[in-house]
């Protein structure tokens, strides 16, 4: 079955073609069947190919469809590459993607652009699969840009509201800033290793580069630029919360489970390069740590249910970056997978809540919903405990691995570990704040659970995965350098388990018992300033607007009529001016001409005499 694995990205693409070329004329039932069915079929082929890959007991398998670009020394194939890491990614994308597609057939039913929605979704899945299956960086870049485009199209899906369009553009342009860095890194890598094939480039780099050399640092930093853009890490994180303007299944699929983790995938895919640049690798960890803390603080102050989840995504990806920074490559991928389970669950359940509340997203207008929405309540609780990483949930296993690796990392790991556990505390605090505010307290609005097999079915599967997904073994040992088993001492383990519990307890004290008047605290003086600072994600949006966007727009407006053109127009004006003066002298009066001739002669004679 392994030979057929090129079908995995191709089938969703065919789905996209069918849905696009029918221009929305297809009845919704068929559009839904094609849209979700293509992903299901793709998942089936992924399973078949994956099982024969694992059975074959090989480390990697590659398949060339055709030569894409071949000029001079440059040879780029349309080649797919399957190893342990891309296998896991392929399963997550098609598996979780399939569940989300099924959910979306229910969530989006009745939308006039139903078919367009699934067309974009299918295109996204196809591009994402190309990204993770690419054997060279150009093909990877193609998938990378493709998912960015789909993200753009889907954030702005409800196009009649110009604000959605703004959010979509912001997402695309900001990630493209990162992409530009990544592309430059790609050229640098090609110049220095002579190839764009990922495995060959890593092999050549290992042979030729000196550890910590300039080229290693430059290339890894540039690739990191692409990764932080796509994965919404500091300093390019401000687009992700705005991306929540898209329909909720999009937030679950693109802006939580798959696309935003592409940066993590990129760095782990090129991990050999990062090992050659230890400083940059450590920087990855530091970026992850700062991002996870910043996003945690910001999540604590948001009122929009989707925004809280968005910042929580930024924060969880921060954990993955932290893992990459301490060389726990496998743990990063592991957390990527468990995060896909529980965050997709949380987003989709949030979608159900939003449906039940008639598109209300403000958590302060919810409250007391656990009786009205029993399904959503339990599902959301499962997602939340996995996010908080209570023992034996999927999030617990992956997060514990990351923190343990950080603790044992030789230099500077301790700092990252401290940030990580502080973040774990924050996670518990904001997650249960969200949970308590939505499901407990005074009931202000009525909600009615919207039921249907396509809505609850996928959620139940995701809930099971969120609970027990931590027991799945991911086959990445052959890809990454071997890591020793970590067994932190009981003291540290107690802290790692205890802090989230403490967070939940404090959340309970504040939001259920009302021990602390938050409005008073956040309403005045220093508290208000701090609240504002956190709420605006440390003022970065404001800063970008003032430092980059406004001056640029001003400059563009200022020079709208092209200053260079005024030079040419100016020369035309000078000619015309001379022409006017000369034509003034053509009066047609004989005495004027006579006197001119006389004066002219006088001048000429004078010059002749003087010289």
């Amino acid at each position: 079955m392994l030979e057929l694995f090129w079908l995995v990205p191709v089938i969703p693409f065919i789905g996209f073609l069918i849905l696009t070329l029918t221009f929305g004329k297809l009845p919704q039932v068929y559009a839904g069947i094609i849209g979700a069915g293509s992903i299901g079929l793709s998942f089936l082929f992924a399973l078949l190919a994956g099982s024969s890959f694992l059975a074959a007991d090989i480390t990697a398998y590659s398949q060339t469809l055709w030569t894409w670009i071949s000029v001079g020394d440059l040879e780029v194939g349309f080649t797919f590459y399957l190893d342990g890491v891309s296998l896991v990614m392929m399963y997550v994308i098609t598996g979780v993607g399939f569940l989300i597609h099924i959910y979306a057939t229910g969530y989006m039913s009745g939308d006039p652009s139903f078919s367009r929605f699934f067309a974009y979704m299918n295109l996204f899945v196809s591009a994402m699969l190309i990204l993770v299956l690419a054997d060279n960086l150009v093909l990877l870049f193609m998938g990378w840009e493709g998912v960015g485009l789909c993200s753009y199209l889907l954030i702005g899906f409800w196009y009649t509201d110009p604000n959605n369009g703004y959010c979509a553009r912001k997402a695309f342009v900001m990630t493209r800033v990162g992409d530009a860095f990544m592309a430059i890194g790609l050229f640098a890598l090609f110049i220095s290793t002579g190839t764009l094939n990922i495995q060959e480039a890593m092999f050549n780099a290992e042979a030729e580069w000196v550890v910590g050399s300039g080229i290693a640092t430059a290339v890894t930093l540039l690739l990191l630029g692409g990764a932080v853009g796509k994965s919404a890490q500091l300093p390019l994180q401000t687009w992700l919360p705005d991306a929540m303007a898209g329909p909720t299944p999009i937030s679950a699929l693109i802006h939580a489970a798959t696309m935003v983790t592409a940066g993590v995938y990129l760095i782990s895919r090129t991990h050999v390069l990062y090992l050659l640049a230890p400083d940059v690798q450590y920087l990855v960890g530091v970026i992850g740590m700062i991002t996870l803390l910043m996003a945690g603080f910001t999540a604590l102050t948001q009122n929009d249910i989707k925004k809280v989840l968005a910042y929580s995504t930024v924060s969880q990806i921060g954990y993955m970056f932290l893992a990459l920074g301490v060389g726990a490559w496998g743990s990063a991928i592991f957390h990527l997978m468990t995060h896909a389970f529980f965050k997709a669950l949380l987003f989709l359940t949030a979608g159900s809540i939003i449906l039940a509340m008639h598109h209300e997203q403000d958590i302060f207008k919810m409250g007391g919903l656990r009786k009205d929405l029993p399904w959503s309540h339990w599902l959301f609780l499962i997602g939340t405990v996995a996010l908080v990483a209570l023992p034996f949930t999927s999030g617990f296993w992956s997060k514990e691995e990351i923190l343990a690796s950080a603790l044992e990392h030789h230099e500077g790991g301790y700092l990252l570990w401290l940030g990580g556990v502080a973040g774990a505390f924050m996670t518990a605090l904001y997650s249960f704040r969200l949970y308590f505010l939505v499901f407990y307290g005074k009931k202000t609005h009525d909600g009615h659970e919207v039921m249907g097999w396509h809505l609850q079915g996928p959620l139940v599967v995701l809930a099971i995965l969120a609970l027990i997904g931590g027991y799945i073994h991911i086959p990445v040992e052959a890809v990454f350098p071997e890591v020793a088993e970590h067994h932190p001492s009981l003291f540290y383990q107690a802290i790692m388990i205890g802090l989230p519990m403490l967070g939940i307890y404090i959340a309970w004290l504040i939001f259920i018992k009302g021990k602390l008047d938050l409005n008073k605290l956040a309403g005045q003086g220093f508290g208000a300033k701090l609240h504002r600072f956190w709420y605006t994600q440390w003022g970065m949006d404001w800063l970008y607007d003032k430092v980059i966007v406004s001056p640029y727009v001003w400059l563009a407006e200022f020079n709208k009529s092209d200053v260079i053109d005024s030079f040419y127009n100016g020369s035309a004006r000078v000619v015309r001016f001379c022409h006017d003066i000369m034509s003034e002298t053509q009066t047609g009066q004989l005495r004027w001409y006579a006197i001119s001739v006389a004066y002219g002669l006088l001048v000429l004679v004078t010059i002749g005499v003087l010289l």
Partner: protein
């Protein structure tokens, strides 16, 4: 096909548009005028495809060569032939005119026959420019292309057409004059008008500089390179749809073609010493064009400034003097012809409906015109070089080529690509999404079959080249290698 045609295939391709012009003189019915022109241009597409199929990929020299004495006293010949570089541009030149005819179907209401004749005249003259082996022939037809374009602008153009036409002619004539000086200088020194022999002659140090400069400026104005670009936005925005398509699609490419055909192989050493200036001007053009495009409120001006940016890539690639760069530049010329041609056709389709080019007059078109928006989006993303479109391949190869030379240019050019996304998506937002801002914009009808036929071949070509550029790259590979090898070692 009979051997009479296949032996003289280039001459037939060149003659066909002129035959079509003569035929048009005897046709009077509006429909038949359009059909005759369409048939003529389509037959030429067929001939061009045949030319491509029978083109020998391995041989680097000229193929399908035809020579005839023309003015023996001056050593001037009618000599045509194609190598891989010409071949691609010949394909482009034949591909666009039928779409121009389709695009003008309803929108040209006055003097239709004359307009169709001018389209054919441009096609015929352009085919000679791209196949001429004789510098005099090249120059003569270079001049001929200017005339129909001028009339298209001043007779069928927008409200400001006379000024725009004048500006176009003044710029073009300045360029032509320099080109004439350059070509005369070449032939006086080399004693021949044969382009290949010119390349084999060695020139004195002093004349080399001046001849190169004259030729270079002549080509740079046509391309146009910064700072000679200001005729382009005016000419584009005032020209009728077909005029803009031909202007952006093929006429600008004469500049790039000239650089590759004359400046590089004849004066490899001068090319090297000019390269730093040209490369800097190129990245400036990429950034400046993108920066100017963002501020435009007129759709056609926006596309025109994006052209300035894209042409910056062309010169960037040409002056990196390696296979990747030069092949990328040629591909970029083809691809720019396709996407920008398509953009002008699309804007023309909107203009036909509302008679407005102002971005502010649209909005929310997705609702009434889903097919239109789908096509517009495709070309918008192609324009900023999204992978799977042909633009990506061109820009990617150019950047690989220039990265061998200097990394600073790569970094700066990437900035231009980010700008490209910004202005194109903003345009898309204001035209296609949100709410309709005018009464007229809320009542538009979607593209009809003819309009879809006008743009879908371009859409297909852009994606096909983006996914499988192999045949085009292979076709020019040996010819480009030939040019690049001449440049090596300086």
């Amino acid at each position: 096909m009979s051997s009479l045609i296949t032996v003289h295939i280039l001459s037939w391709m060149i003659a066909l548009p002129f035959i079509g012009m003569v035929a048009l003189a005897f046709v009077h019915d509006r429909r038949w005028v359009l059909l005759t022109t369409l048939a003529t241009t389509l037959i030429n597409v067929g001939l061009a495809l045949y030319l491509w199929m029978s083109f020998d990929l391995v041989e680097n020299g000229l193929q399908f060569v035809e020579r005839m004495e023309w003015m023996p006293t001056f050593g001037i010949q009618y000599a045509v032939g194609v190598d891989g570089i010409s071949l691609l541009l010949v394909l482009l030149t034949t591909f666009l005119p039928p779409l121009c005819v389709l695009g003008s179907w309803d929108s040209i209401t006055t003097r239709l026959k004359a307009f169709m004749m001018l389209i054919l005249l441009v096609e015929g003259a352009m085919l000679v420019v791209f196949t001429a082996l004789d510098a005099f022939l090249f120059f003569m037809m270079w001049e001929v292309t200017m005339v129909p374009m001028y009339f298209m602008i001043v007779l069928w153009g927008g409200p400001n057409r006379v000024a725009a036409g004048l500006k176009y002619v003044l710029y073009s004539l300045t360029g032509s004059l320099l080109l004439l000086i350059g070509i005369l200088g070449l032939s006086l020194q080399a004693g021949t008008f044969d382009i290949q022999s010119m390349a084999e002659h060695s020139y004195s140090q002093n004349s080399e500089f001046w001849i190169f400069l004259a030729l270079f400026l002549g080509f740079a104005i046509k391309l146009p390179m910064l700072p000679f670009h200001t005729w382009l936005p005016d000419a584009h925005s005032e020209a009728p749809t077909a005029g803009s398509v031909l202007l952006a699609g093929v006429l600008l490419k004469m500049g790039g073609y000239g650089l590759i055909r004359f400046c590089l192989p004849i004066f490899p050493e001068m090319a090297h010493s000019f390269a730093p200036v040209v490369l800097w001007l190129s990245v400036t053009a990429i950034l400046y064009g993108g920066y100017m495009a963002l501020a435009q409120t007129d759709l056609k001006r926006l596309v025109a400034y994006s052209s300035v940016s894209h042409m910056g890539f062309v010169t960037l690639g040409i002056f990196s003097f390696n296979n990747e760069g030069v092949e990328g530049a040629i591909l970029q010329m083809v691809t720019h012809g396709l996407t920008t041609g398509a953009m002008f056709l699309i804007v023309g389709q909107l203009y036909d409906r509302t008679h407005s080019r102002e971005i502010a007059d649209y909005g929310g078109l997705q609702q009434r015109m889903p097919r239109f928006v789908a096509i517009l989006s495709l070309f918008a993303v192609a324009s900023f070089g999204l992978p799977t479109t042909s633009n990506f391949i061109g820009e990617f190869l150019i950047l690989v080529g220039v990265s061998y030379e200097n990394f600073v240019f790569v970094a700066l050019a990437m900035g231009g690509i980010v700008l490209g996304a910004a202005y194109m998506l903003w345009m898309l937002q204001r035209v296609a999404f949100g709410q309709p801002r005018t009464e007229a914009a809320s009542k538009l009808t979607d593209l009809n079959v003819r309009e879809m036929l006008t743009v879908t071949p371009l859409a297909f070509a852009v994606v096909a080249i983006g996914v499988y550029p192999g045949p085009l790259l292979k076709a020019m590979d040996s010819s480009v290698t030939f040019v690049v090898e001449r440049l090596a070692g300086f």
